[in-house]
Structures are given as C-alpha cells and as structure tokens.
Symmetry: C2
Subunit: 302 residues, 2 copies
Amino acid sequence: MRLTILGCYAATPRTITNPTAQVLEIKNRLFLIDCGEGTQVQLRKNKIKFSKINHIFISHLHGDHFFGLIGTISTFALLGRTTDLHIYGPKGVKEIITLQLKLSNSWTTYDLFFHELESKESEVIFEDSKVIVKTIPLKHRVYTNGFLFQEKAGERKLNVDAVQQYDIHTAYYQKIKNGGDVTLDDGTVVANKELSFDPIPALSYAFCSDTVYNEDIIPIIQDVDILYHESTFLESEAALAQKTLHSTAIEAAKIALKANAKQLVLGHYSTRYDGIERFKQEAQTIFPNVLLGDDGVSFEFL
Amino acid sequence: MRLTILGCYAATPRTITNPTAQVLEIKNRLFLIDCGEGTQVQLRKNKIKFSKINHIFISHLHGDHFFGLIGTISTFALLGRTTDLHIYGPKGVKEIITLQLKLSNSWTTYDLFFHELESKESEVIFEDSKVIVKTIPLKHRVYTNGFLFQEKAGERKLNVDAVQQYDIHTAYYQKIKNGGDVTLDDGTVVANKELSFDPIPALSYAFCSDTVYNEDIIPIIQDVDILYHESTFLESEAALAQKTLHSTAIEAAKIALKANAKQLVLGHYSTRYDGIERFKQEAQTIFPNVLLGDDGVSFEFL
C-alpha cells in the first residue's frame, strides 16, 4: 500500500504548498482522495498516470478539497479517456460539475458516474474483490466524510514443499488456501498450518480531513493501520481549532491513540507556521508513531 | 502600460506551462484577463498584489480560461478582502460561482458584482475617467468575447516656463490643459501650442482569444497599439485550426496587418509543439512586429 501526498496544506494554494489531494495505491487500485486546485499538475509532477485513476473521493465541498476536480475531469476528456470515472462526494458535486461541462459545451469522452453522499452514518460506498471503502462521518462546517480503505484478507499461501512431501493432489490446493485441513488416503489429518503460510496481512487506511476532534469516529477506525488525521493547528491555536472545527496535532494524536492506530500521518497544516516539524513534536507527546505528510512525499506501508 | 502573461498555453495545465491568464496594468489600474486553473498561484509567483485587482474579464467558459476563477475569488475572501470585485464574463459565470460559494457555505467578505455578457455586438462594459473597455465579439465554439482596453487621451501638459513668461493667471491653466488659447490683457492671442506640450499618447490593447480567423473584428480593433491574438497552431495545422475554431500564427499576423496594429503579441499555443519560436517566424512572414507571449513574461509599452 502506497500513499502519495500531492498536497496537504489548508486554505489557499501558494507557490510552495498545495491544497489537499492524495493518491492511495492499494491492491493495485489507485484512488484519488480530494482534489484541490492544481491537483492535475501535482499528479503530473508525481508521475501518476491519469489513466490509472478510476475513482475519486471528495471529503467535502470546501475549495481547498475540490476546486481541482473540474479541471481534472476536463483534462481526462481532452486526453481522450474512455474508461469510466466514478466520483464519490457530498450531494451537490454532480450539479457543480455538470453545470460547468454544460456551459463550456465540453462533455466528457467517457462515462462519469456520481455517487452523491448524504448519510450521517458510516456506509460502504465501494467494494470489489480486494478492497472495501466506507465513509467516516466527520464534524466540520459543511457536510464532510472521511474515508476508510480496507484491503480484504487474502488467501493463505500454499507451502509448496509441504504439499509435495505429503503428495497432496492439486484438487485440494484451493481448500488449503481457504484455510482447510487435508485428510490423507491413510486417514491422517494434516493441519492447514503445516500446508500453508499466513496471507499477506490486510492493511487499512483512514483519511480524516477536515474535522474537529471527534471521538465518535473511533469505533469506525478502530485498529486501523494508517490514520491520516488533519492537524491544522498547533496547541497554541487550540481555541481557533475548536472555533473553526479543525484539530490540533495533539488532538490528532489522541484519536490515533484511542483508536489503536499503528501509524499516524499528519497533514492539512495551516500556512501560518514557518515549518511543520513542531506538529510532529507535539503529536509525539501523545502517540509515538507519527509521520509528517508533506507535498510530494510518498509512504510505502507493508 | 504593462502586460504580464501569467499563462498562455491552450488546453490542459502542465508542470511547465499554464492556461490563459494575464494582467494588464493601464493608467494604474490592474485588470485580470481570463483565469485558468492555477492563476492565483501565478499571481503570487509574479508578485502581483491581489488587493490591486478589482476587475476580472473572462473571455469564455472553456476551462483553460476560467477554472481558476472560483479559487481566486475564494482566496481573496480567505485573505479578508473588503474591496468590491467586478467580474465580466459570459452569461452563466454568476451561476457557476455562486453555486460553489453556496455549497461550500463560504460567502465572500467583499461585494462581488457580476456583469454578464450576452451581446453579439461590441459594447462598452467598463468606463472610468482614464480607461474604457469594450468587448470584441469572437467566433469560437462557445460564446466568446475579446476585450479592447483604451486609455483616454490625457490633458495637455502645461509649459510652466511659457505661462510664467506671459504672466498668465492660474485661472487659465485648466483651459490651457484642455487645449484652449489664451487672450492676454493687451488683446494678443497666444496659441495653445506655445503654452502646453502634447499629452502622453493614449495607448490601446486588444485581447483576442479564443477565435477562428475573423476579419469582422478589424473595425473594432483598427489602429490598436498592442494586439494579443491567439495562435494555437502553426500553418501545418491550418485545417485543424479551422475545424476547432482557433487561429494559426499567420492568421494572427494577417489580422494585425489588416487592423494596422503597431505590435502583435502571440499566445494560446497548443502544447503539441516542442518550442514556440516557430510561431514568431511564421507570423513575421506577414507582419514584422511580433512578440512571443510566454508564461511569466512581462512587456512594458510606452
């Protein structure tokens, strides 16, 4: 699983920082999460192939999370894309995009599917054979969702040496991969753990931005491997975080701790600060495993 | 008069090129013309103060000319702007912007005035004491206007030595600046040209993008000082220019020649070419005074 941060700064794009957008590569699927202005250029800079993105998730309709969506959709069309594109986002996103396509008299060369979200409860919004995606209802100034991406547990790996040693017929292989024991011709039962290895662990990633500190999300993200949680402010601006329905680095760390996350990634930093190292220092007073998200940074998780 | 090209490439923004946006400084007024995605960052890169922009002109609603407008408007608000902002553009631009402001629950901190354009005839859309702006109806795939910016002729400059020599009372100064002669107490008439100098010549700038070759615009831009005319293609793609309602560099030069422009600035280059020098070479086979627009380039005209 690979997370590439295209942008992770709050509010306005600047010459040196970009608004929120990130690409999650999970089980060979590429998911684009949020799409601030300039995302298509950030995709180019980070050498991510447009054609591999089939699903875009939009957390909420503040500009720093979606003003780049119409440009991305249009560019895909200008490049002659034919593959379906799915957009998941708050109710209203379809009207915004289709109005602009209509007024520019520029329809897409591919089918565009909108999956508009309105529920205030967590729900499954995407599922295929290998990945499931659920919403994480967040508390912000407008209707906002985080997204929980979960790999499905894979099959057990066949222990080739062992099955050959026991001379087990290939007809049993799928049963073994599914976790079953095997009874030999002489009646001996060989336990599955002798015939197979554990599957590659299924990983999970939770994207939570933007939100005030909100413990209601903990049951949804419990035991998540990687938690990206917004940390717009340092503790000195805790009151401002509360007022604007954002979080501090320490609050992000508290959520990571209580949810038993393995790793916390910080982001959505206010541009008022000179650097971002302080965010890590403050978060680590609560929770040790902190990574600093930053534009153009890519993390691989195994 | 200073023209700063923020972006002058067609279609999609890339890591090295930007879609259309430019800033015209004329008589101490700053006009933003078109606003492709990333314009606010280009404004920052070119150190143009957001607070000095009070008027934005949008030629048409193709993405490479206006997808950066909503972000620019929002950033002005995030920075606490209080000065009025005027948007001139095709009918529909108000609906696009207000829908996005509504759905993001983020109203501007300043008054936003939309001047929606529908006329197919040239019309005056802005006028103050020093500048007048008229539309230039263009032929493109959607409703499109170019814009003609004209300085008003200034007052004549008082020849201070001469008026003192003739001992002319200050009460006559405004009459002299307006071009009037002065009759002295002894009945002698002193011609205005003895008492004043010519005013600084009034300059004019015509922005014509996007458009197919169209001689109908010539009467509107006749004798313009600076003509920016799109040249999406080289002559080898003349058929494609015709089909997509764009122009070639040679066609831009023909318009400059027939309109008796003093200077032609090229831009809106297709990104299919490796460099832009050929655009100038081809245009100069028709018209000598050609400047190549390019991102981040600034021209001063006197």
